[in-house]
């Protein structure tokens, strides 16, 4: 009984932390021009039933319905692109496309952005979309009481003006190539909307049906939608707190699809069953062994490299996720435009690790404390790391802490030697350019590359610069990037057209078909 309770609480905590402690990233980079491409969705099968309602199972219930008021990961999953739309959209393949912005121009100095809005767009309440709504929506993210994880991405905004109803002009104080990408996180909300915590007023293909807290949330097609209408008659998100209950719901056809499978053990029952499809997509969640690069012995890159080489990441990944998940060797996941495979920079090589340790003056090893969040997979990973490092003479003391303690001790006070943490966002390699970040990696070269990248004229330049930064942090073993989580969507075989990468917890439902 007791262990069951602990694991339940742990599951809830895990959700809390991934959406709070790591739910940010001053995203860097974007597409300069709108990109084509419809995103990587599952392929179509059979003839679709246009009157079908899609039953979605999820572990992430919204806290409330306001994404600048603490709605969290759940409201992004249910509402982003479905109920609310931004000026731009981040596709499931990581590309940025125009959405409510029909077109936009950038001044030659890169400081003034002029957006032209789509015409004929109405909110669910019936009000037409105007530039004033866009201004209001951006300002809502920037507001004093805003809890938006994206707030820090927009500090460069100097002014927002609305020359006419369909034009918005934004002036920046410094060049920012990620500006358009960052705008894909800003929901355009009716500036007349009253209550955004339990109701909505967006422009998306669905409007909110009912939200029964603790249980489910339904979306109904919006008849006045300006774009292509949904391919189904609505969506119901069913919320679960335990992964087992969620899997049972899928097995008994109570739900058609699970947005993100978090229990690796459960996959076997779906994998060899023709009634289900297990989709192995790319996530952006990385499990990090983050060193405190400020303090001995981890201020020495050679020690960090030795530790990295001493741990068999493949074996760790297999023991947790079986055949799923990827090794990436650095911070950048494959869906970021500046990804490259860097797994050979610090290969698993115990002899090399021993050599590097003696070069660094630790031939007899050393000991350190590993601050380990108390929820899965951190304790498992910590035990594994302890065993691996013992083979090269390093003694690990595992210190299990709660998410809240982690936030205060590690993140705020930098009072740690090494820690484990999952980092969920895309394009978050830029944190290595910030010497004040919790891990304290301070390489002026990388800081310069990250800043230059943000000031780039083209996305190609930006990608080239961030690639270099990524190579450098790998060469310095700034952290040990243990592995990239799999993003596993399990669905009934009768379903098609669903997103499989689920970047940043998005779940576009309007192309899902059921046959």
């Amino acid at each position: 009984m007791k262990s069951k309770m602990t694991s339940l609480v742990g599951a809830t905590l895990m959700v809390a932390l991934t959406l709070t402690a790591c739910g940010s990233g001053s995203g860097s980079g974007s597409e300069n021009a709108p990109a084509a491409g419809s995103g990587s969705t599952s392929s179509s099968t059979g003839s679709a039933d246009p009157n079908a309602t899609i039953e979605v199972g999820s572990l992430y219930e919204p806290q409330n319905l306001d994404n600048t008021g603490g709605g969290g990961q759940g409201v992004t999953e249910a509402f982003n692109g479905n109920v609310y739309e931004g000026l731009f959209k981040l596709g499931d393949d990581g590309k940025v496309e125009n959405l409510l912005a029909k077109d936009y121009k950038v001044s030659p100095d890169g400081l003034t952005y002029t957006f032209t809005l789509q015409s004929g767009v109405t909110f669910h309440s019936g009000d037409p979309l105007t530039s004033a709504d866009v201004k209001y929506s951006i300002e809502k993210v920037l507001a004093k009481d805003s809890q938006s994880a994206r707030k820090s991405s927009f500090t460069g905004i100097k002014s927002i003006t609305t020359p006419d109803d369909s034009t918005v002009t934004v002036k920046l104080s410094t060049k920012s190539i990620s500006f358009v990408y960052n705008l894909s996180y800003v929901w355009v909300i009716n500036n007349q909307a009253k209550d955004l915590t339990t109701s909505e007023d967006g422009t998306g293909p669905y409007k909110l049906g009912t939200w029964k807290r603790g249980s489910s949330l339904s979306l109904d097609p919006f008849a006045g939608y300006w774009g292509t209408p949904p391919t189904n008659k609505g969506v119901v998100f069913h919320y679960f707190t335990a992964a087992t209950a969620l899997n049972n719901a899928l097995l008994t056809n109570a739900v058609d699809i699970v947005t993100s499978e978090q229990s690796p053990d459960a996959l076997a029952q779906f994998k060899d069953n023709k009634d289900y499809k297990v989709n192995d997509g790319h996530s952006t969640t990385k499990l990090l062994l983050a060193f405190n690069d400020r303090v001995k012995p981890f201020d020495n890159a050679l020690v960090r490299k030795a530790v990295t080489s001493a741990i068999d990441n493949r074996k760790l990944l297999n023991s947790i996720w079986g055949d799923y998940g990827t090794l990436i060797g650095s911070m950048v996941p494959p869906t970021d435009p500046w990804y490259e495979d860097l797994t050979t920079v610090n290969p698993y090589d115990v002899e090399l690790a021993k050599k590097q340790l003696s070069e660094a003056g630790y031939a007899n090893g050393f000991s350190f404390t590993l601050d380990t969040p108390n929820y899965d997979p951190h304790p498992t990973a910590a035990t594994f790391i302890k065993g691996e490092l013992a083979k090269v003479g390093i003694t690990v003391t595992i210190n299990v802490i709660t998410a809240d303690e982690w936030y205060t001790k590690v993140f705020k006070n930098h009072d740690f030697a090494a820690t484990l943490q999952e980092h969920v966002n895309d394009r978050d390699v830029v944190w290595y350019g910030n010497p004040d970040f919790y891990w304290g990696y301070d390489n002026p070269e990388v800081t310069k590359l990250v800043n230059q990248a943000e000031q780039s004229d083209t996305t190609d330049d930006q990608a080239a610069l961030l690639k270099k930064a990524n190579q450098q942090i790998a060469a310095d073993a700034a952290s040990d990037w243990l592995y990239l989580y799999p993003q596993i969507v399990v669905a009934s075989s009768s379903l098609s057209g669903y997103p499989i990468n689920g970047l940043n917890s998005q779940f576009y439902a309007y192309t899902i078909k059921k046959s």
């Binding site: 339940l8 609480v9 809390a16 709070t20 915590t197 807290r213 209950a245 109570a254 205060t408």
Partner: protein, 321 residues
């Protein structure tokens, strides 16, 4: 009886007040700042300060307590730190699941346990008397969540006759639908609960069976059934009712685990989430409502005992003998 009711009611109010003080202080002893759980990794110190101010966790403890208590008097349980939505209405909507779940389980457990307990006592020397007694012992040792998972495997995954979990989106609009959803959770709780109840019923019945008054009554020519009906049941019921009160309260609080197993949107799942998020108003609200429910159940159990046993009516504590 009127004095008794008054004194008992006063006792209820005082207990509630003391419980609320205790609840408030114990929660504040927990390490950690609820503002931390609201914000993201990129949060600025200003954002954290603003969040603290917004939820009022920057106010002195006494001030927080007085304002909470003040609202409590008007049945306002406050606003969740995390969702910024009022706690009271959400608790009310969750009670629509938890209360029927508790009562139905309780009824089923009583219906099952009383006859079995009686037979186990009446035929305590026979093989099936011992078997029933042994089975109930086993039942006590089995955790509820395990029974739940077992029932799901058999009735939902294999036989596909009952849902594995969840609750209708429109609550009790279709009672048959709601009852179907509650079937397995109710059986789960009732099975575990009846196991211990059987033990109590059995021992209470054994006491009565061996009593002098029953033998005397039968010696006067009454049949066994008549003797049991006139005197046995009443006497056996007194200790059983007090246990029933405790069992009912335990079920109400213990539904947490079963609700999780069956993905029911009841108080339990709300409590677990509240604890994980340091959402004090939610935790306080739920524990306050639970405390209230437990005290009321105790009150009712006391009353029922007095109705059954006239000897208790003159006393306040219920310990007449």
């Amino acid at each position: 009886m009127a004095t008794y009711l008054l004194r008992r009611a006063a006792f209820l109010v005082i207990s509630l007040f003391l419980a609320s003080v205790l609840l408030f202080l114990l929660l504040r002893l927990l390490p950690g700042d609820p503002a931390n759980s609201l914000l993201s990794i990129g949060a600025t110190p200003e954002q954290i300060a603003a969040a603290r101010h917004q939820i009022g966790s920057d106010l002195p403890l006494l001030e927080q307590f007085v304002s909470w208590l003040g609202r409590l008097v008007t049945f306002d349980l406050g606003t969740s730190f995390v969702s910024t939505l009022p706690v009271g209405p959400e608790i009310a909507s969750r009670l629509a699941v938890t209360v029927p779940l508790t009562l139905l389980s309780f009824l089923l457990a009583v219906v099952v346990a009383v006859p079995i307990g009686f037979i186990a006592a009446y035929r305590s020397n026979s093989w099936y008397g011992s078997l029933l007694s042994g089975l109930s012992q086993l039942g006590i040792a089995v955790p509820a969540f395990w029974v739940g998972m077992l029932l799901i495997t058999v009735f939902s995954l294999r036989l596909r006759v009952l849902p594995a979990g969840g609750f209708p989106r429109d609550d009790w609009a279709d009672p048959a639908d709601a009852l179907t959803s509650l079937a397995l959770p109710v059986v789960t709780i009732a099975l575990v609960m009846s196991a211990s109840l059987i033990r109590y019923v059995r021992s209470a019945t054994l006491d009565v069976l061996g009593s002098d008054y029953l033998r005397t009554f039968r010696a006067l020519g009454s049949s066994f059934t008549g003797a049991m009906w006139r005197h046995g049941l009443r006497n056996a019921a007194v200790p059983v009712v007090s246990i029933l009160g405790i069992e009912l309260a335990t079920t109400f609080l213990g539904a947490v685990v079963v609700e999780s197993v069956f993905a029911l949107p009841g108080l339990g799942s709300m409590l677990i989430k509240g604890i994980a998020q340091h959402d004090y108003p939610v935790i306080q609200g739920i524990l306050f409502v639970s405390t209230f429910a437990v005290l009321v159940i105790g009150f009712v159990a006391d009353l029922v005992q007095r109705l059954i046993d006239p000897r208790l009516r003159g006393t306040v504590s219920g310990n007449a003998r």
